[in-house]
Amino acid sequence: MTLLFDGKAFRLEQDQDLGLLTFDLKDEKINKLGDVSLPELDGLLKDFKKKFPTIKALLFRSAKPGSFIVGADLNLVRSMKDSSEAENASREGQRIFNILEDLGLPTLAAVEGPCAGGGTELILACKYRVVSDSARTAISLPEVNLGFLPGWGGSYRLPRLVGLGTALDMILTGKSIRADKAVKIGLAEQSIPAALFGDEILKLGRRLAAGEKPFKPRRDPGLLHKIQKDQPALLQNFWAGRRFVFHQAKGGVTSKTRGNYPAPLRILDVIEKSWGERREKALDLEAKAFGELWGTTESKNLVGLFFLSEEAKRDTGVTLKSDVVKALPKISEVAVLGAGVMGGGIASQSAAKGMRTLVKDISWDSVSKGLAHAKKLASESLKRKKINKVEHEAWMSRIRGQVDYSGFKAVDLVIEAVVENIDVKKTVLKEVEVLVRPDCIIASNTSSLRVSDMASAMQDSSRLVGLHFFNPVHKMPLVEVVSHDKVSEEAVARAVQFVKDIGKTPVVVKDGPGFLVNRILMPWLNEAGYCLLEGYSIEEMDKTLKDFGMPMGPCELLDEIGLDVAVKVAKILYKDLGERSKPSDAIDRILGEKDNKRLGRKSGLGFYTWDKPGGKRVEPDVGGIEKLVFAGQSSPNAPEHTPESLVRRQIFPMINEAAVILKEGLTAGPAQVDLAMIFGTGFAPFRGGLCRYADSVGLERVVAELERLSEIHGARLAPSQALKDFAANGGKFYRS
């Protein structure tokens, strides 16, 4: 083995006729394509055959254990000045990968571990690809999730390699392809056992260098097979079929994005136009689209969100030094008190992620409901192929049900999810406190009560935290970790780590009414009530706010939460926060009906009719709601308005509340608010979160609008001093 080149990112060695190009970015744990690696790769590949005439084949591999190339350096992507710079960066990468494609030698990429974005585009420019069967191997083009498209030839090369249907699926969803699937769809020639990977790729490389053809040529699966199994593969060969594929994809994309995300449609457009075109033309279309999409606000916000969630992964939530936090004992056994929807969901999520979990309730009947709920979630995961049969079995075998406190000495964390009643919670916490080990963390999953109030019932409240999960637990990524005056930093740090360990995103919030997410949501839902009284229709409100980017409109959301719960929480918040949170009596009127069964989705009837309790939404019950709210009279006509004015009316009060929360120092900063709102409520990700959206409007404008609205609709809408201060002091929540 001769060392020919040893740079900051790449090493080129020669072993007889085989060239080995090893990506090993200095001082980094992972390989990224950026301002160090790309120029170096460019220099190496230029005139390759002239410089290294004895090399007959080139093997491309990574020196990072279990990781190939995670993609382009996003800091670089973020720091680009304008669209034309982005377009140029796209063309530059395309140029280098073209050199690789045109090298005139057999090139083989050996992929083990994650290979994403630019990394995937690099291996697509190689002649052959093999993958390690390691569970870590995952190939993806996730650019769409950042609001742009693969800009280094990915949109051109992938459809030609794996077919239009499969390529669109990968590029439009950003999904990861595992080793066996990569071979199946033709993305890789072969899957090699991880233990033999290092040696086997060398053997393959040597055979390529010796002029052999170690890979079987792709077999044409035959027409019949294509019709049965792979319609897109057949369709793509005919003009009409292709039109059909794109038409279908466009329909799917439009209904999913409501036009809020420009990237998927633009990607479809590029791939459709470039299909059948020569490389130069196709890459030109790609680069232009890249520059354009990079310039969109949506993309900037999605990239920002990516960085936010990356930071959240590193954030320990406490001021303790990171090595101190690392040394804290990890939580591996959990007890959940209460096997209801929340308790069952938390237990299931914990067990799914490897925790030994016990779920305790008062009766076996309740316990069995909790276990059955967990089983349903496990089965769904199995059906969606997120887990295999063995993992499915293990998931359930980690959960135990019981009706007493036996075995509580073994657990590292107790999460109470009993009824939302402060006296019941206090009793339960008092009971459990003396049964667990002194180092056991005790958590409450309360959504509306104060953790500090519970702390008063305990002998040692330094280990009490709030862990506010959102419903449904398995879908909602956010958990609010609630601290209070008496809690220890260690307890918060261990709770934060636990939340990460079970695959959720923690945001640390100080104890207060409604914590963060519910407190910010409530002014919106209140305002929806006032709007209803003024004659705005259910359908219009929901459609407008969904078009704005919320996953649900306010009425639909109220149905989800449960009208009774919403009223209860609204009243608690009003008591604590005063005028700003004054609810309308619209929902009281709805709940006031005698023998009321109208509680929302859970009872099968709310603003909407549902096909069954807890089932699917059917249609708004306009007549029924009118009858209750307007005592049989027809509703008044809503004042003149536009969708934009309706959005301002309902969203700006949330901004007002966020300002107060930030001023009170309940959470670290606007980034935490945005993360919490996106991961806890699905607040329009492409807008970058509530604070980011507010900044894009300008806080001065928000203040002015709230002042105007408060004059018309009442003092509750008046801008808070906090918001005015933010507006006066730079006009933005974010400093940069």
């Binding site: 009947d365 316990v367 089983k375 359930m396 049900g401 075995g407 509580f408 073994a410």
Partner: protein, 435 residues
């Protein structure tokens, strides 16, 4: 020799095969019982996993997908991979053999803490293709061309597939004497002239005692309520078998199953085939220390197995008990609690008569006189296998558990747990109270 302690034990509810637990794999039944056993120690799994020396589990009808089912159970229960686990098979005493092996290892100082138990799903005993069908499938898989395959298909009458071997029936038949277990009970009934009525009375008492024990909450002490997979919507808190309305009239209506003409053994005075698991934690003095000094259920004082005529395997308890009495110097009247597994009413009654017979004890045990009488009031006071069933691999552990718990309630000094074993053996364990 080190002292051996039965630290704790627990079992699943038992359910007649084909009923509530029919969809539950034997490994899952065992997994559940082990998880419950360990949870009761209050020690985190990651810690107790490192304290345990070995897992030994009895199982008779080996599931095809879990040849060493003990290992599968241990891993499913979340025990560490470095922990050794093996399965033992001594037919109906597999769950006693596992306890005996753990006790032997503890007493010899090999290890300090063992999980020993048994698990069985008789519901999931498979049907087996007969040899002709197996040969047919072999030939079919070797045939390459369509023509060859058609030839093979044409060569074998399809009727062959309709005569599978029923593994549960074969498993309950002794190949050396050719008798089914029920037929061995018929031999004893005839030898000792035990009438159908007496057998039915015995069976009725088993049900009545079981119902009584359940009502008083006695059985709940040894049963861990089980949310039954795969739906988890039903919770079994008690055994399924005991019948509240069981009566002599109803029992009398049943036809003899094994000997239609002269027989007396019916489905009513025999134990049903059953699903269930039982697990025990066995430890030395040092083991107790490591576990944080829990109060054990009992001390395991002695254990023994013995062989006899396979045609009269039901008398096994007499032979095995004879050996533990000799070893401990105890006599039958020292036992405040006696559990004899009720494979068949005839077989238990035959045992009682043999214990109390001078001529039998002289001829077969080489004694000068009989071993003595067992007070029927002390025998299986909470009912037995006729009422709640006999999951073959698990029963051995179950009767030790039941005897130990009953000793606590009765404040008895000594307890005896003994059973008969298909193939002509008996097993017996002597427990001593620590109270």
């Amino acid at each position: 020799m080190k002292q051996v302690f039965l630290v704790d034990a627990i079992r699943t509810p038992f359910a007649k095969a084909g009923l509530d637990l029919k969809n539950v794999h034997a490994a899952e039944l065992g997994r559940f019982a082990v998880s419950e056993l360990l949870a009761r120690t209050g020690i985190p799994l990651k810690d107790i996993g490192n304290l345990i020396d070995e897992v030994i589990i009895g199982n008779a009808g080996t599931p095809a997908d879990s040849a060493n089912i003990a290992r599968v159970v241990a891993l499913l229960a979340g025990l560490p991979q470095h922990l050794s686990a093996y399965t033992v098979h001594r037919n109906c005493a597999s769950g006693m053999e596992s306890v005996a092996q753990a006790a032997l290892k503890v007493s010899a100082g090999v290890g300090d803490i063992y999980i020993a138990g048994g698990t069985e799903s008789m519901s999931q005993a498979p049907l087996i293709y007969n040899n002709k069908a197996v040969a047919f499938f072999e030939r079919l898989s070797k045939a390459r061309s369509l023509q060859d395959r058609l030839k093979v298909l044409a060569s074998t009458p399809v009727a062959e597939f309709l005569k599978p071997r029923i593994s549960i029936m074969e498993g309950l038949t002794d190949p050396t004497c050719g008798l089914n277990m029920g037929e061995t009970a018929e031999v004893i009934a005839k030898d000792f002239k035990i009438s159908r009525e007496k057998q039915d009375e015995f069976a009725l008492r088993s049900h009545q005692r079981a119902i009584d024990a359940e009502t008083k909450g006695v059985m709940a002490e040894e049963i861990a309520p089980y949310a039954v997979p795969p739906e988890y919507t039903k919770i079994l808190t008690a055994d399924v078998g005991p019948r509240k309305g069981q009566s002599l009239e109803a029992l009398a209506k049943l036809k003899p199953f094994f000997d239609k003409k002269y027989g007396t053994v019916t489905a009513g005075n025999a134990c049903p085939i059953t699903d269930g698991a039982a697990m025990a934690l066995i430890a030395s003095e040092d083991g107790l220390e490591k576990l944080g000094r829990p109060k054990p259920l009992a001390r395991i004082k002695a254990w023994a197995f013995a062989g006899l005529d396979p045609r009269r395997m039901g008398l096994g308890p007499v032979f095995a008990t004879h050996r533990v009495l000799k070893e401990t110097g105890l006599s039958l009247k020292d036992f405040g609690v006696v559990e004899i597994n009720e494979a068949f009413a005839a077989q238990v009654m035959g045992c009682l008569m043999a214990f109390d017979s001078d001529s039998f004890c002289k001829e077969y045990l080489g004694r000068s006189s009989k071993l003595g009488e067992i007070d029927v009031g002390l025998l299986n006071p909470n009912g037995g296998a006729i009422a709640f069933g006999h999951p073959v691999g698990a029963t051995g552990t179950r009767i030790i558990l039941t005897a130990a718990r009953e000793m606590k309630r009765k404040k008895a000094k000594y307890g005896l747990a003994t059973l008969c074993i298909g193939g002509g053996q008996g097993g017996a364990v002597v427990l001593e109270s620590l109270d």
